[in-house]
Amino acid sequence: MLDIVFGENSKTVAARALQAALEDTGVSGTLYLGYPVLSTADARVFIDALLISKARGLIAFDLTSHLDPRPDKEQLNALRERQDQIYASIYNKLNTHRDLRRGRSLAVDVHVVSFHASLERTIAEPELVACSPTGLRKVISGFGGIDEEILRPLNAAVQRVSTLRPPKKREKVSKENSRGAILKRIEKEIANLDQWQNRGAIEYADGPQRVRGLAGSGKTIVLALKAAYLHVRHPEWKIAVTFQSRSLYQQFRDLIRRFTFDQIEDEPDWSNLLVMHAWGTARDAGVYSTVCGQYSVTPLDWRTADAKYSSRAFEGVCEELNLVIRDKGARQVFDAILIDEAQDFPTSFFRMIYSVIPDPHRIMWAYDDLQNLSDYEMRSERELFGLDNRGQPLVTLRNEPNKPKEDIVLPVCYRNTPWTIATAHALGFGIYRPEGLVQMFADPLIWGRIGYEVTRGELQLDSDVVVRRDPTSYPSYFVELITPNEAIQCETFLNEARQYNALAAAIEKNLQEDELDPTDILVVLPSAYTSRKTGASVMAALAKKNITAHLVGVTASRNEIFSPNSVAITHIYRAKGNEAPMVYVINADFCHGGFDLSRKRNILFTAITRSKCWVRLFGLGDKMRALEKEVDRVRAENFDLSFHYPDEAGLKKLAHVHRDMSDEERQEWERKIDTLADVIRAVDSGDLPLEALPRGIRDKLSSLTKSGNVLRK
């Protein structure tokens, strides 16, 4: 089967003709249209199409050379020069990869074919091959295949990811099966883009396009590659890359620079490729402040917006700006924009963007499916961009055969082991919580979208169901290299001191015996409110073992969270978007029960899913023991999630009972609970006769205590 990746410039007649001709030959492999962009010492070289096929090798197609049906000598010379240039650029690029060399030569032959519909006959001279669609089958049948061991590094070299995130050298790894050795193997595996990420990065729809997937599916890398690719093809375009988390700034700059350099051996032109925060300031341009500039509007800063709009600060300023845009008319500000963390942006931002990027509205956004368990209502493109004056959606995403996809899903989660993520969902939803569920998706079908398959029952309301991780949703190396038992473990402590000492001992073992680096470890604190106090205690405990640690994001969130030779400690809100091979969640008991249980279980879900390989939940007392039992139950069920899907009324009740509460509401309930406790104490001690309570209340109390949690099945 021919997997086609539609890059920019893939809609040309020649590209379509090549695609059709190759499909006719029955060749299988990956065909990149409009990709890659390389360079020689003299010039940028656009490769019109590139086929990587196990059976037919590596073939670069030139689609743009002008050829008469019977080319004369001059045309043939020009063609030879063009083909030489293509060959040289590809050869030079592949030759830098050790895995692709055999001795002093390349381990793969580079074939170059000029493909032109009007050629009367095939030209097959040494180092000059050209044919029409009818001649293609015979031409490529003469090419040899690629060895299996070369195929993977060849794909990686073409996709460029292997040089984007060079794995840590891990020079101190000497034991074969240490955690460090396991990481080394995983990092080597992960360098390849999978076919989904491939498509997301290179596939170009020349209009709105959405990329979505679970946290850890590679969306940021895909967006960065896409930005670099577009910039290289159109260096004159104003392309904005934007986000809400400041820490992404440097990540995007690094990724884009390396990819661009890798392709064309030149720096990006940062005056046209604009990596910027969504807001911006008077001194650092952002998307919002840049659009304000275009409309001669003074941008509001966060403080002013916060005073005016409180938690809706950014939404409010975008709404204000949209009124100005409506009044003054749409004006072009950018040629294209790529938006990461789209789920964090208000709708008013998307409406603003639509107005300032003219037709075909090159707006690409990456949407995190389920960053947390509550925000699962992904806004449709209709909601994001609105309707035209005929009541039709301004943007509709379509996936049609033989056309670039407009809605790309990255289904494989590379970050978390299947056991970790199943446990995170189990704890997050309270699936094995004795008191019953804490929350649940309103739409049962979401489970399929996030990588689960049904093993028993039905995924529908008011039904029993058992789901488990679909094996295609995670890479196989997890199963080969890590065991479920090792992936997630819990421990309960009597007091804080013992917890911190155990944490320090565990980290010491990670560094001294497991061959991990301090930057492989992340300590997550569920409560942001107590994070400084807890952070201080953790740092002090680690200092006793001569282990250096630091608090993350205290001063500048743009900085890397990891620091050489230091263990990172972060509260949950700064942990978002980050990951580490070994994650310790301490004081996990905070998330067990009480008010705001949805939020607390969301915190637990987010904390656990920061882990790339191993996660350790530490906590105190009975609440931690109870959490431990929930985890044990997940393990006992072999990481299947078995539950009764609530009906609509049940879902509403869950949402209400475990809702987020304001401080005032919580304090009010705490007062009422204190009063209730006083009443119960009085009845218990005989100070207040039970009969003094109204009958209705006596009966209700009795039925509640008999039935336990009224929400349980």
Binding site: R303, R532, M539, H550, A556, S566
Partner: protein
């Protein structure tokens, strides 16, 4: 006290400030061997940046310190404390102890609600209107070193406002003497906290004043002064 134990105490003091809610951040400290006899105490990560900053210090210098985590402790009001000692054997050869007050007055509520760190808040919000937001405050630095000693350049001195200002000090300051000075004068509530006071260990300091120094107004303190 030698370099190693002092280094541990400095780190621990920072964690105590942090753990009791008086600081936003505290860095670990480490001992760096400069030569066979010389050891330096510095905060971690040890940036290759020059410790010296221009004086009078600019807002940009303060922000740069925040951005790069170039401090020992970061107090709740954004005040930066830098502790750096160099030991020769068991003796303090030099020190640079600085208190750098935050040039802006912000609310902690803002820091909690803002989606970013203190540097982000100050750089993106407060720097937009310096006239309304900026406070004119000078860093205060206690330096000690004998290599450049001369009249008007005492071995131990306090610098404030201008690089030429070198108010003689009685002796090189022990870490706890410096912290007592900062807390008493700028963070009295912290100084009065028993959790913090418990950490203090006062030690005898060897006088370094010359006759010329004594002829000027100079700073002196009594060894082992009582607490709050």
């Amino acid at each position: 006290m030698t370099a190693g134990p002092l280094c541990n105490r400095i780190s621990r003091f920072g964690y105590t400030l942090l753990g009791n809610g008086f600081a936003i951040d505290a860095r670990a400290h480490k001992v760096v061997s400069l030569s066979a006899r010389q050891k330096a105490i510095r905060w971690v990560p040890d940036t290759p940046r020059d410790l010296m900053i221009e004086c009078p210090a600019r807002v940009g210098d303060y922000l740069s310190i925040l951005q790069h985590g170039d401090y020992s402790f970061l107090m709740n009001d954004g005040g930066v404390i830098q502790i750096a000692f160099t030991y020769s054997g068991r003796e303090i050869e030099s020190h640079r102890l600085m208190y750098y007050p935050c040039p802006f007055q912000f609310e902690n509520r803002e820091l909690n609600e803002f989606d970013g760190g203190l540097y982000d808040l100050l750089n993106e919000v407060y720097m937009n209107d310096l006239e309304a937001n900026m406070l004119l405050r000078s860093p205060i630095r206690f330096d000690f070193g004998t290599s450049a000693t001369s009249d008007f350049h005492p071995a131990s001195h306090l610098t404030v406002n201008d690089p030429s200002c070198r108010v003689p000090a009685r002796a090189p300051l022990h870490f706890y003497t410096f912290m007592k000075f900062v807390l008493e004068n700028f963070y009295l509530d912290v100084w009065k906290s028993s959790a913090i006071f418990r950490e203090f260990v006062f030690a005898q300091e060897t006088e370094s004043l010359t006759t010329h120094d004594r002829g000027r107004a100079y700073l002196r303190w009594d060894y082992g002064a009582p607490g709050p």
